[in-house]
Amino acid sequence: MIPLIYNEWLKMVRKKRIWVITLILLVLIPIFTYAQFRTIQQTVAEMGTSDWRALLQQQIIDQQNRLSSSRLPEEWRDWIKLSIQQQQYYLDHDINPTAPGAPTFVRKFIEESVSLFLPLLVVVLAADIVSSEHTAGTIKSLLTRPVQRWKVLLSKYLALLLSISVLMMITAILSYLISGVIFGYQGWNMPVLTGFQEQNGQLITSFVHLVPQWKYILMAYGLAWFTCVAVGTLSFMVSVLVRGTAASMGVMLAAVISGSLLAQLAPTWSMLKYFAFTHLRLTDYLSGKPILIEGMSLSFSILVLSVWSILAILIAFITFQRRDVLA
């Protein structure tokens, strides 16, 4: 099995996919870093103070003003109320939620990129892993070897998991190194709040506790890794089912993007919670950001993603094992 995984890894590296993705990160992370920097500067300038307590106070007032607008839909009203509660908690406990520093950027970056940016990169990695062998015809060279078909496919899947893990590591390392240039490299031990729970539109703070930021980042990356593996597994299935690389990438991009759009467009449609791509923001459960769709919790999200992934693997392997290689 190891030689087969090595083969797939070699293709992945020599096709320069990993390098393209590293390059994308190298271009985008400085832009995000700068954007973050500008936002902080801007708020400081507007408030006429660098005092974060005043900033937080102002944000709470802003949100309360939005609440008084009568045109606000009911779902948004709940959402804003919850987020005011949470900010109040930070204020009462003397915790600066935006305290700059590279680790804070690493944390924020993964929280923001887990719903769309990272899944898109994973799709780029995974979408052609099987379909490209069909497009190039090399599938014929692979399947006429003394190796069972399912082993060929498994080696591809494991190589994909490996490259997703490498992608996460590259993301973490690059976002730390690059953002540190502006924000400084300290702040691993800064306490971060977690353990928020939501029940009937109320933010339950009884389980809220402080963890050092490094621990929080580890948990967030773990959840993001899970999200990416689920997206990768679904792309993998599509790559088996659809023969063209362009088509399989298109299908997956559409699915990922519509998942994140639907959650915002129709949060009251409860069927959405059975759709895999509305569950990508696993890190929101850590940070206590209110979830748009009702009835979702961390364990439910993980369950939905797992069920989809297992089904995708079954479909991929059964199809691949049985299919005639015609073209």
């Binding site: 087969l4 293709k11 020599r14 060279s141 070897r145 003394p146 005639d324």
Partner: protein
């Protein structure tokens, strides 16, 4: 029924896709050390058959035995006997020749670097083996394709239209190489082709496939000598045609150009026929044994009917 030394034995092989029957009830055997031709026009079912032989397509019915192993039930030991190129030599263009070879070697057991070097020398690619495959010419890709097919010391080499896209020199080279493999290394070679001449020059035995059915199997010499044809160029072609009809050894007569008649007859009767035509005061301008094509054989078998749906 199966000879114990038979290397490849195909019986009652059928493939249906949807309602369409692509190949129907194929039966043939390939013996050790022989070059076996699989001849048929495009769309006859050659590629489908070859893909079944190498395990890419599941047969709807029938069995394939390779060196005694059933391909369906004992895939791994059966496929180990085979090296193949299906259509084009499918290689990874972004890897070097050597990297491709090592990649395929890792998918088999016990292929040493010595073996890789040996097959690369055999196909005379040692000069360019460390260059990326995308810089190779088609001929070089073809040779690397053969090298990867030979990696596992196969007993049977399966080549699908191997001369496609090669120039005449490349075709001749390939032919010599295939014959060398059969005679010196004792490897059986199964080659598909749609060109009669190619099969004639290369193969010992042949199976002819048309519309998914095997029309004929047998030694190549049988096939060709059975229906030799001669083209006569005669000014008074109408009289010549009438005269030919009276000769017992002439079976079919076809008019080609305005004064050319193509007749099926034994070659040793040419001189005799020519003399007779002269006696009849007919001006023979040219006599030429005709190089048969695949269509001619089909035509002869169907008794001159051009209708493709004839019971071949």
């Amino acid at each position: 029924m199966t000879n114990p030394t038979t290397l490849l034995s195909v019986s009652n092989l059928t493939k249906k896709i949807g309602k369409r029957e692509i190949v129907h009830n194929l039966n043939f055997n390939v013996q050790p050390g022989e070059v076996y031709g699989f001849l048929g026009p495009n769309g006859a079912g050659k590629t489908t058959t070859i893909r079944m032989l190498v395990g890419l397509i599941r047969p709807t019915a029938g069995t394939i035995q390779i060196n005694g192993y059933d391909l369906q039930r004992q895939f791994i030991p059966a496929i180990r006997q085979i090296g193949c190129i299906v259509e084009n030599p499918e290689l990874y263009p972004y890897l070097t020749g050597m990297e491709n070879m090592r990649l395929f070697a890792r998918m088999m057991k016990n292929v040493s670097q010595t073996k890789i070097d040996e097959v690369i020398r055999l196909v005379e690619l040692d000069q360019r083996v460390h260059d990326l495959v995308k810089t190779y010419s088609l001929g070089m890709k073809q040779r690397l394709g053969i090298a990867q097919a030979l990696l596992g010391d196969p007993k049977l080499l399966i080549l699908d239209e191997p001369t496609n896209g090669l120039d005449p020199a490349g075709i001749r080279e390939l032919r010599t190489f295939i014959r060398m493999l059969a005679t010196e290394k004792g490897i059986s070679v199964f080659v598909s082709s749609h060109i009669l001449n190619e099969v004639q020059l290369l193969c010992d035995r042949v199976a002819i496939i048309h519309h998914g059915r095997i029309v004929k199997t047998g030694p190549v010499s049988d096939l060709i000598d059975q229906h030799p044809q001669v083209e006569w160029t005669v000014d008074e072609w109408e009289q010549a045609q009438t005269y030919f009809k009276s000769l017992p050894y002439i079976t079919t007569i076809q008019k080609r150009a305005h004064n050319i008649l193509r007749v099926q007859m034994p070659l040793e009767k040419i001189a005799e026929t020519n003399a007779k035509l002269l006696q009849e005061q007919l001006h023979v301008v040219g006599i030429r044994p005709y190089q048969q094509t695949l269509e001619d054989i089909f035509l002869a078998m169907t008794g001159g009917q051009t209708d493709d749906s004839a019971n071949l």
